[in-house]
Amino acid sequence: MTALQAHLPALQVVVPMLSAPLAMLLREHRLSWALATAASLCAFAIAISLTLSVIDTGGMRYLMGSWPAPFGIELGVDAMSALLLLIVTGASSLALIAGASSLDREIEVERQPLFYAAWLLALAGLCGILVTADAFNIFVFMEISALASYVLVAGGPDRRALPAVFKYLVMGTIGATFYLIGVGLIYLMTGTLNLDDIVYRIGEVAEVKPILIAAGFISVGLALKAAIFPLHVWLPNAYTFAPHVVTVFLAACSTKVALYVLLRFNFVVFKPYLEDHDLKFAIFLLPLSLLAILVGSAVAMFESNLKRMLAWSSVAQIGYITLGASLVSVAGLTASLLHIFNHALAKSALFLALACLAISVSKLRIENIGGIAKRMPWTMAAFLLAGLSLIGVPGTAGFVSKWYLITATFDSGPLGILLVAVIVVSSLMAVVYIWRVVECAYFRETDEAQSAREAPLMLLLPTWAAVLLNFYFGLFPGVPLELSSSAATLLLGQTP
């Protein structure tokens, strides 16, 4: 086993990546779905064993093509990447298992093998970013996952998916190219591309201007990919018009991986040597995250299309994550990493519930899901419980990360009171927009709801699995907590 154990970081990317061409070749759509789910589950298993080995040995290194580190490409898995790997592969397996029945409604059967191949590539791309420790390699895999998610989003049945995905493509490519400019400038000044080598070389660089500009470009580029507040305009439409199962997968992890890269660059690479970097980083990120939280929740409150409402709520939740990070303290970072995990759980459960709803309700708008709870009790119960986790009711995963976030903001001085106020206000807004849906589903009556039938079992089981996971990690957040706190100390440990 130990021989295979050593190859795990590479296998994490290779398994989904090589199964994509196979999935494309299979003509029968059920077969390619089976292959895709198997590959995704296998990736999940690898992620779990990687996490276990990271927990006891604290990180793994893997030399691609066995060339020594700064020259060849090196893969590095540490606590933070393990945490994200769990989310990405978990969300993908969950969405795929639920995907079969929901996708048959949205994509013609002949095109499904291509769709599943694109899905596996998106998964491989995201895993590639999380696993690699080479600046340019991140760009390549970012492009793979980006292109694949454009294809996934473009699969949506609604014609408005196309302009949405075009805007997503343009903004995504600009983000990636900004990142490329940043890496180019760093390469210009340090001469290497390996992340650890850059950290080592940046110290010697005398002129600091290009490095500052590079930090600026990289942060803006990744902010664009991570839909941080002013640059989030592509997210609502892209998530709304994508197929339901794709939204489950993307909402849970695509922006999170960009945030992971942003954190890794700003804390590991730039923090040690750029003086008062954390001040600049906080000034850049704190106001944006506050705006994201308030605007995101406010718009979500008045949005009648359910998917767009949850998309806007994702914008707000990303605001939470960046708020935690912008406190630049171990507690803050732990809270933000934990919230990455918990938000992925809550949001995938919610979108899965919407996917169940979409089976029997034509347009996912609030007016036409009135009184549906009688016909679809299990789905609405799942939506309600996942909503509670999003709000942060105690006993759910959302509460744990909110608890840590408030604790972190409390001990960040006088500013803390304002931050706590914003967090509290926005969780109340979350109560409003979740309760609006629940109340309408349980108490109002519409005729369309009478004909609704309960969602098929294949779709309900993953939804309920996600909901129960929410509660499990609400009560026993041992694993994600330990991973995020060790990652936080790792990120901040860099400071000399």
């Binding site: 942060g392 009711v393 604790t407 409390f410 001990d411 509290v424 969780s427 109560v431 109340e439 108490f443």
Partner: protein
């Protein structure tokens, strides 16, 4: 069966009951009713079984799980918690009997859902009673809010849903808005949230900050219905009577006041609070609530709204007693919890019985009803007297102790408020009793109606008897309280 086993049994029983009811509900109403009663009985027996152990000074505790290093869901029985749990489990039996009669009489729809959530809210109440740290308290406090929402919104028509939304909105806003930050502040300042005798904020939070923290706690616990956050209580009147009984007398409101008292005693510490001037405002807030609520109750026409506002006033009695910060007053506070529970549940059962029998809800319609429903009206009178605090009833005992405490610390504000509110209570209860017994039957010939269904009447008389018995045999309760004080002073 060791004491700590019975703690998690106390939590588990209502949950098992809820599942049982769910299954039984499919088979038949009788089976479902019997499962409810059996569970209620078992819970009461299990909780009451703990009292002798507690009397002997034992403090059984039990840690369910450790959520995060430093925060865990843990339970510890202490006198105040024991009192509240015993009260809640006891009254659950009575309430179940009553609700069987009420539900059958009114043939309400989806009763299974009613009983399930009833059992769930009881489980949450047990959790609050036995919580040994702030986090567990907050966890079950939220669980109680969420499990009582479907009860309040039981009818499901438009205005019920709106007032249920007000109910949920206020409670969630206060809990997430004020209580959670307060708890986190305490966890940060005191390094933990354990309820320890003598309080844990000694020397950690001082001066105006302490007052602010106290404010966040008191107003954060919306269920204690201190004036500005009390609006949810009248709004919850739309619920069927057994639910209002549960809300006002058995679980929800009691949980609020119980939490406030517990936090004052076990987190702030009575002397610590007494010594800092910044906490004096609590006394004035409670006094203000009592007086204003009684005045508003005076003008109410609807019987249940009147009882609601009277509850708001009575709750602030307990807060006032706790705010007097004298041992005697603390005993008075805990006794008042019990006395008010018995009195108010009788009044609500009576109101419900009248509604079931005669569909009358307005005070003006109650003229001469005494002759038609003698049992119900006698119970109503006993309950009203207990509210006013006339000797043969329990209410007198608690007011006696609170007054004694107030005199001891010669706190004139408290004394004056208690006297004024007694007068006001009399002002709005006595006319009802007088009209009921001696008033003439309204001539429009309301439909002929006899007594309410027998289970309702049975429950009524039982609680009325309890109110009187409590006056005579309050020994064990006071002994329990003395132990509380022994630990505190």
């Amino acid at each position: 069966m060791s004491a700590s086993d019975s703690i998690w049994l106390a939590l588990l029983l209502p949950l098992l009951g809820a599942v049982g009811i769910l299954l039984a509900g499919r088979i038949g109403p009788n089976l479902r009713e019997s499962v409810t009663l059996v569970t209620a009985g078992a819970l009461a027996w299990n909780v009451w079984g703990l009292i002798p152990a507690l009397m002997a000074g034992e403090r059984p505790e039990f840690t369910l799980l450790q959520v995060v290093p430093g925060i865990e869901i843990a339970f510890k029985i202490e006198p105040l918690g024991m009192l509240f749990a015993a009260l809640a489990s006891g009254l659950w039996i009575v309430n179940s009997i009553y609700s069987i009669g009420y539900m059958r009489g009114n043939n309400e729809k989806n009763q299974t859902r009613f009983y399930i959530f009833f059992a769930l809210s009881l489980a949450a109440t047990m959790g609050i009673a036995f919580a040994s740290n702030l986090f567990t308290l907050f966890l079950f406090y939220e669980a109680l809010t969420l499990s009582t929402y479907p009860l309040v919104a039981h009818k499901g028509d438009r205005d019920t849903v709106n007032s249920a939304r007000v109910y949920l909105g206020i409670l969630l806003t206060t809990s997430i808005g004020l209580l959670l930050p307060a708890i986190i502040w305490t966890y940060l300042a005191a390094g933990g949230g354990e309820f320890t005798a003598g309080g844990i904020l000694e020397g950690k939070v001082e001066g105006p900050a302490l007052g602010l923290l106290l404010g966040m706690f008191v107003f954060g616990i919306g269920k204690a219905a201190v004036m500005p956050v009390h609006r949810w209580l009248p709004a919850a009147m739309v619920a069927p009577t057994p639910v209002s009984a549960l809300l006002h007398a058995v679980a929800v409101v009691k949980a609020g006041v119980f939490s406030v008292t517990k936090i004052i005693i076990y987190i702030f510490g009575v002397e610590h609070l007494f010594s800092t001037p910044s906490s004096a405002w609590l006394l004035y807030a409670a006094a203000f609530t009592i007086v204003v609520a009684s005045l508003v109750a005076l003008r109410q026409q609807n019987l249940k709204r009147l009882l609601a506002y009277s509850t708001v006033a009575q709750l602030s009695y307990v807060v006032l007693a706790a705010a007097v910060l004298k041992p005697l007053a603390e005993i008075g506070a805990s006794i008042h919890i019990v006395a008010h529970a018995f009195g108010k549940i009788t009044l609500f059962f009576a109101a419900g019985a009248i509604y079931v029998a005669s569909k009358k809800t307005e005070l003006s319609q109650l003229a001469g009803i005494g002759r038609r429903m003698p049992w119900t009206m006698t119970a109503f009178t006993i309950g009203a007297l207990s509210m006013i605090g006339v000797p043969p009833t329990g209410g007198f005992v608690s007011k006696w102790y609170i007054l004694a405490g107030a005199f001891e610390s010669d706190n004139y504000v408290a004394i004056f408020t208690i006297i004024a509110s007694t007068v006001l209570n009399a002002a709005y209860f006595l006319p009802i009793i007088f009209a009921a017994w001696f008033g003439k039957e309204a001539m429009d010939g309301g439909k002929e109606h006899g007594e309410a269904p027998w289970p309702a009447v049975l429950a009524l008389t039982f609680t009325a008897a309890l109110t009187i018995l409590f006056f005579l045999f309050n020994g064990p309760v006071i002994e329990l309280e003395r132990q509380l004080l022994g630990a505190v002073s």
